[in-house]
């Protein structure tokens, strides 16, 4: 060591947020919230979407400046005015959306993240140091691989490695396992847990998965609508306690029980192939039959071709090869065919894929039929009153929270946008439903409602293809489960007999 150099402090430290209040204009995002993370503990932060979890940790990291409240780091009050201050104190955060640069290699990403990137990087020397660092780490990544070429699981490991490489001793993880298979999630969290136990690290993890809280966390803090709803030791709580604290007194839609008979084949994919935006094969030769009255779930880690498959079915992407048939007829995703086959679509990111953000809720609800009676006369003259009446009926039937039917849909919350799409797509008769991650990022009430609607459509005899990254959702709703990996269907099982570990293995490509 160079004489006079202060050694970098090591070991975990705690962080407290005291009486945090955060106001965005009129909106109170955090209301007098308290969070105490003990040094060397694994702390879970639970809450629904919009409960204020992200706002709270962003205040700690210096992205936001709390309207009121103090932050204590290692017991000492600190003013953190930007992320750099937080980094200097040893705080690091792994974001829900990756912050790796996809077009660069893993090594470039790691070196780039440092605060002291040399003006001219000596790659030979850096590579050697990185390899020495990786040798001590519990998980491995390939340094020369481009980030865009590695799997989501590896990227998440890379994000965590980056924080450890930067010698962070307090890690905030924002939904770190949302893109991982259950096996990968256990591996990553297990290794982090071991580092916590050995006293090197303190972890604050935002999550909504009770399984992970029960398995890995020591303590939990629960937020509801910007307020502290509860906190305590995980060992003293059950998942039911936590769920109740998260939701409060709100009534959830009850899902109808599975009923009805499986009918004839309705949707058939025959050796379907599709390319992604870069021209690489994303969907490879997949064949599948979905019958009336059944839900077929497609499981898989995000980025294995599910998006392109749904886009082909929705008419947003041309198939490169193969055929889609509905009731034995060739299907080429025209509006007319969708209408004739009573086909409905709940694509992922509904605001982007199923709505026109600047148009009103009433207009968006009418997209499927706006050029027919009663909305239009003679196919061209639109009847505004009919739009409004239809919208008002559906707004109350689907509990859509909007100020007026004429409000632009982009100003609604995510759950309400999805309710509008639900009202449009499931409001009439449905014989074939394609749904992709329909509940992503939504709160319990919206999830329960959407699950109930999908099950009800199935019970009425619709054929449902449900693509989801959430295995719990798939196991709850599906009759049959197909696992997609690298654009191919690699495994099929009846959902009632499905084995979580086996499915997880197929999702990871083993």
């Amino acid at each position: 060591m160079i004489i006079g150099e202060t050694p970098t402090p090591t070991g975990a430290f705690g962080a407290d947020a005291i009486a945090m209040t955060m106001r965005f204009g009129d909106f109170l995002a955090l209301d007098n919230v308290e969070l105490k993370v003990r040094p060397g503990s694994f702390h879970a932060l639970l809450g629904e979407n919009g409960a204020g979890k992200s706002t709270l940790v962003k205040c700690i990291m210096g992205y936001y400046h709390a309207t009121e409240g103090d932050i204590l780091i290692g017991g000492r009050e600190q003013k953190i005015s930007n992320p750099k201050d937080a980094h200097a104190l040893g705080l690091g955060m792994v974001y829900q959306h990756f912050t790796l640069v996809p077009a660069m290699t893993v090594a470039e990403n790691l070196v780039l993240a440092r605060d002291d990137v040399p003006a001219v990087v000596d790659w030979g020397k850096e590579k050697k140091e990185l390899e020495a660092f990786l040798a001590q780490m519990p998980f491995k990544v390939s340094l020369d691989a481009k980030v865009s070429d590695i799997s989501a699981g590896e990227r998440q490991k890379c994000e965590i490695l980056k924080q450890l490489y930067l010698k962070r001793r307090f890690l905030i993880l924002d939904e770190p396992t949302s893109v991982l298979t259950p096996g990968e999630a256990d591996e990553v969290l297990g290794m982090l847990r071991a580092m916590v136990v050995s006293g090197e690290l303190t972890i604050l993890m935002i999550t909504h998965k009770f399984r992970e809280v029960m398995a890995f966390a020591d303590e939990v803090t629960i937020l509801r609508r910007g307020k502290l709803a509860g906190q305590g030791r995980v060992a003293d709580l059950t998942p039911d306690d936590m769920a109740r604290t998260m939701i409060g007194a709100e009534q959830l839609t009850v899902q109808p029980p599975r009923a009805g008979e499986v009918g004839e084949a309705r949707l058939e994919l025959d050796k379907l192939t599709a390319l992604d935006d870069a021209g690489a094969v994303a969907v490879r030769n997949v064949s599948l039959t979905v019958r009336g009255g059944e839900i077929v779930g497609i499981a898989g880690v995000s980025g294995n071709g599910q998006r392109q498959l749904v886009e082909v079915l929705a008419g947003q992407r041309e198939a490169e090869g193969g055929e889609i048939r509905i009731r034995g007829e060739r299907y080429s995703a025209t509006r007319e065919e969708m209408r004739r086959h009573k086909m409905s679509l709940l694509p992922e990111e509904p605001l982007r894929n199923a709505c026109v953000g600047g148009m009103s809720v009433a207009d968006n609800i009418a997209f499927r039929d706006f050029d027919r009676a009663p909305f239009a006369k003679g196919g061209w003259w639109l009847n505004g009153a009919a739009f409004r009446k239809n919208a008002e009926r559906k707004i109350s039937r689907y509990k859509i929270k909007t100020r007026t039917p004429d409000t632009p849909i982009a100003s609604l919350s995510g759950g309400n946008v999805q309710r509008v799409v639900l009202a449009r797509e499931l409001g009439g008769e449905v014989e074939l439903l394609i749904a992709a991650n329909p509940c992503f990022g939504l709160d319990f009430a919206a999830v329960a409602q959407i699950h109930a609607e999908i099950m009800a459509a199935r019970n009425r005899g619709a054929a449902v293809l449900l693509v989801s990254e959430d295995l719990d959702e798939l196991l709850e709703l599906s009759d049959r489960l197909v696992v997609m990996f690298h654009g191919e269907f690699v495994h099929e099982a009846r959902a009632s007999e499905a084995d979580l570990t086996e499915i997880g293995r197929h999702m990871a490509g083993h």
């Binding site: 996809p102 990087v121 041309e318």
Partner: protein, 308 residues
């Protein structure tokens, strides 16, 4: 007319000489635009920057008697215009393409306005190095009279290629261009990185302009640039945002631009205007060949407004 001793060889020789001479502004503008676009922003105003650079270089060279001061002035003018572009674009809800078009028209108009008194006088021009001393053939000698700016441009291309890979600034520019979220998460100011990248881009484009007025064609008039600035922006897309490919693409465009005059010099006059349009036809052809509705451009910085 052509020297009888080399006959039709005049054409490839003239194309080669033209490639070197005409390509220099393409080269500087495209390298500048390459830096700007790698940081995640498109500056379409470089056509205006080019013309402003040409005018200010000519003016300063005339006033001071030093063409090199003129080149410097052109670069400074270019980086000021770049700063203006970056400044406007850093305001919320501003579209960089619209601002670029506005600045293109602004730059051209301003240059014509300020440059009115410069049309008459003759300013000192940039020197050229004679690489053709070994030959007796005048065409060869003419083709190999190479300007220093061209050599500087040729040197900048590999330096830039290296810098994008191994310097802190190169990595930061790429980060800002590929993922502004990542840059922000690391605590860098994306706007500041883009401001600097746009200013450096403007500096190079301004120097490209100085070549027009101080070497070839070598005078200041309002018809000086025939869209080289905007063609160079397209060229960056063709070159896949790679500085080395920018160099080859500039040479190809320069050669294409020299085709018309070269053919005329051997007496092929029938399709003169058609051959003069060669660079534009090349631009269109390249765009049609390399673009597809089914896939996004490979190598495109992910933050560019055209790829997002």
């Amino acid at each position: 007319m052509a020297d009888a001793s080399i006959g039709l060889w005049t054409v490839p020789l003239a194309v080669l000489g033209g490639a070197i001479r005409v390509s220099t502004p393409f080269l500087f503008v495209s390298l500048g635009e390459c830096i700007t676009e790698r940081s995640g922003r498109i500056n379409l105003g470089l056509e205006g920057t080019l013309v402003m650079g040409a005018m200010s270089a000519y003016g300063i060279s005339y006033l001071t008697g030093s063409p090199w001061l003129g080149v410097l002035a052109a670069g400074v003018t270019g980086s000021l215009l770049g700063a203006l572009h970056a400044g406007i674009c850093s305001l919320p809800r501003v579209n960089d393409i619209a601002v670029g078009i506005a600045l293109m028209l602004f730059g051209i108009g301003l240059a014509f306005f300020l440059g009115k008194p410069l049309i008459e006088p003759t300013a000192p021009r940039l020197p050229a190095i004679d690489f053709g001393w070994w030959s007796d053939i005048p065409q060869v000698r003419a083709a190999l009279r190479i300007n220093v700016l061209f050599l500087i441009g040729v040197a900048i291309a590999p330096i830039l290629y290296w810098a994008f890979k191994t310097t802190r600034w190169g990595l930061l520019i790429r980060t800002a261009g590929e993922s502004s979220d990542a840059a922000r998460a690391m605590g860098h100011s994306v706007l500041l990185i883009r401001l600097r990248a746009t200013m450096v881009g403007g500096f190079l484009a301004g120097i490209g302009g100085s070549f027009l007025s101080l070497f070839y064609p070598g005078s200041w008039n309002e018809g000086l640039s025939s869209g080289q600035g905007i063609t160079a922006v397209a060229l960056v897309i063709f070159a896949r945002w790679d500085p080395l490919l920018c160099l080859w693409a500039s040479l190809a465009f320069g050669g294409a631009a020299a085709l018309g005059p070269a053919l005329q010099s051997v007496g092929v006059t029938s399709g003169y205007h058609l051959f003069n349009a060669a660079p534009y036809i090349l631009t269109l052809a390249i765009m049609i060949i390399t673009c597809s509705p089914k896939r996004t451009l490979t190598g495109a910085p992910a933050e560019l407004s055209i790829t997002r």
